[in-house]
Symmetry: C3
Subunit: 135 residues, 3 copies
């Protein structure tokens, strides 16, 4: 089963989407299998990270923003804004999809794991995420 | 269904393989499901990135080449050439496989997304990519 | 089919788990399909890397330890130890799951590819890995 989700990413950074993905798994009726979450964009990621303490997500964002700086003299792909080329690099260093096992009809995430859409652009973006569930 | 592809990577950098993967999906007859693309190597990656403007791919290559330099004094694994250890690191920072949903018999890629083999070695390499399609 | 594995990661670094994953594939009886390996933690990764020469794994660990340093002034998430926030970042830069095709009842890994649990914490950790096999 496949379902497309439209997610509003109102600011640069991590946006938790665990509940939205869990709802698709629940609707699918799948008891045991695999759930894949794919993002149809090259300047935003999907990742799995700690969802308990917001300081972990915030440090992660700040660390990657420092590693992949805007206005780097190296960039030639600059016509779409100073946050565009860094966004492509950040997407490549993280992930475009994640796969989570489903056990007893639920996402088998660890205690501290959440699924996040990581928006790398600074504008208010509407993003499409595709959730696939299969045995 | 599984199909193995042999890809000639004639130079270091991104080589688009979207058409080759799409042909496997088409041959499989799969209407809805998931397509996984796996590379059988530890010094080349498969990633999804922008395929519209070549400057994005070029900046991505140059940025990663700067982050993961050759001839770093840290390396002890040097007997296979100065581009070998950086290639293992680059592979680890990117991806060995990608998974793309299939909808209406086609790869559900975003408008700007392409699938790329990223060759990290400088020599002319022949690479094996395995494409799996399943419901 | 899904099987949970409990892995003792006695030290920070790469721990090969190819044999454990291959045993699950063998037990499943699957002849052709995909094997997904997922780790239920946010401070350890699963990756595929060279398993022939230990110097490659060691350089990989040392390189990433240098890139993602402990005691970085940027961190605010510091209450779980100096190796905790670096562990979350390292997990995000590598992978929480890998997917390997199965052909003729076996993992279709390349000659030099092994599956590794990468422990980023310095303490002796017990980690849970979930292996899913499907057609």
């Amino acid at each position: 089963m496949i379902k497309q989700l439209s997610i509003s990413a109102r600011r640069q950074g991590l946006h938790e989407i665990t509940a939205e993905v869990a709802a698709v798994v629940s609707d699918s009726g799948l008891q045991e299998g695999l759930c894949s979450v794919f993002i149809k964009h090259t300047s935003a990621s999907v990742i799995i990270q700690e969802n308990a303490d917001p300081s972990a997500a915030r440090d992660l964002e700040r660390w990657l923003n420092r590693l992949v700086a805007e206005n780097d003299q190296l960039y030639t792909h600059t016509n779409e804004g100073s946050d565009d080329m860094p966004s492509h690099i950040k997407t490549t260093l993280t992930a475009t999809s994640v796969a989570v096992p489903v056990i007893n009809g639920q996402l088998a995430l660890g205690t501290w794991q959440g699924i996040f859409l990581w928006e790398h652009r600074r504008a208010n973006m509407q993003r499409t995420v595709i959730v696939h569930t299969g045995a």
